[in-house]
Symmetry: C2
Subunit: 225 residues, 2 copies
């Protein structure tokens, strides 16, 4: 019974890692679509989001089923509750990658990014991909040193968003209104994806260290602009 | 034992309703601060957010404690899992109200809203306050007709956001870059608060009707612009 239970927990962990992999691909593809104005890649991101939703359903059903059948306590209970939270974070991060792709599709064949903003978004994409990639490793191996790396990448994403917003404010005359709206939302979307990566690794940290599930320690949203 | 358990469930429900009340106040105050450029009210919203965070901690600790001690199954289990999700939604909606107040504080003493956009944001604020107010009643009384009302209000908020975004695109020359950034984010923040109200009532709907916790039925985020 215990062995079957722990095998089920491993399945849930595997599904969470699979969600990370799919989110990583979604962010990478959405960023490529954004940088290259590539409609086919944007469409692929949009179409793929349903798989993330399905994985979330699988994880949640399995977690609730285990809660009902096994009545776990202590660490096992906290692992299951954390899995429910992590699947939400990953589903939401996938939505945000889809939102990036939707902006690319809406503007196509016009490019979304002015030349001056390309480098910042390319870097934000790389950092977000790396943050989600590392989050998967933290979930797999509970390596809290890697978790610190995710926090660092998130802080860099925040700085880049502020850099984009600063350029919009100081050089507004060189942008159209539609560009400012797009860049504002895109900056926000990457910032939030970084936040979700941080939430994931902080939840693993709670499980490892046994500290509370205090949402104040999970919240990472920065003040925008 | 069962009676004590159901009394605990009622306490959780009461705390969720209290969170709704506090979010409702936060949205109302943030909107007043936005319309009047009222710094003191904005500061109050920012300072009050910690109480919402504390309520979420209380609800989550109580829910996890009940899961551990009572090993609930069937409906009781689903009620507890839903409570964990609803407390997240409410905490996040409170953050978004705080974000509105932070924009007011950042621009003070300059007003954030151009005259042309006042009416739309006043109405978005009213609709969001009403949606959260109704969500509280749905949680208290499980009145699914009222839930339909929340969905309708959310759709109206989405339309108003699109109206603001449309005006930014068509009359961009009458806005500064900073105004476009602010209005883009503000529209998004109200849109997301409306989404959270809808998520709340859909979760109650699942409990009443016994249907699944499929996140595809809870997701409400609209494509922006």
């Amino acid at each position: 019974m215990r062995e079957a239970f722990h095998s089920d927990l491993e399945t849930i962990r595997g599904n969470l890692i699979e969600m990370c992999t799919q989110v990583e691909t979604a962010v990478r593809d959405a960023t490529t679509a954004l940088l290259d104005g590539d409609l086919a890649t944007a469409e692929r991101v949009i179409a793929a989001d349903v798989h993330l939703d399905e994985l979330q359903v699988d994880i949640d059903e399995m977690a609730v089923d285990l809660l009902a059948r096994q009545s776990p306590v202590a660490t096992d209970l906290r692992v299951l509750v954390s899995a429910l939270r992590m699947s939400s974070s990953l589903e939401r991060a996938g939505d945000l990658a889809e939102h990036v792709a939707l902006i690319v599709r809406r503007r196509h064949p016009d490019p979304v990014l002015p030349e001056a903003d390309r480098a910042d978004f390319e870097r934000m994409g790389e950092l977000t991909v790396a943050a989600i990639h590392d989050a998967a490793a933290v979930i797999a191996e509970r390596d809290l040193e890697l978790a610190a790396q995710v926090e660092k990448r998130d802080a860099e994403i925040d700085d880049l968003m502020q850099s984009v917003y600063g350029r919009l404010a100081s050089q507004g005359e060189s942008y159209s209104a539609a560009q400012i709206t797009d860049l504002t939302l895109l900056g926000r979307f990457y910032e939030r994806m970084g936040d979700h990566a941080v939430s994931l690794v902080r939840r693993v940290g709670f499980l490892v260290t046994g500290s509370t599930l205090d949402p104040r320690s999970v919240a990472t949203d920065v003040e925008v602009i």
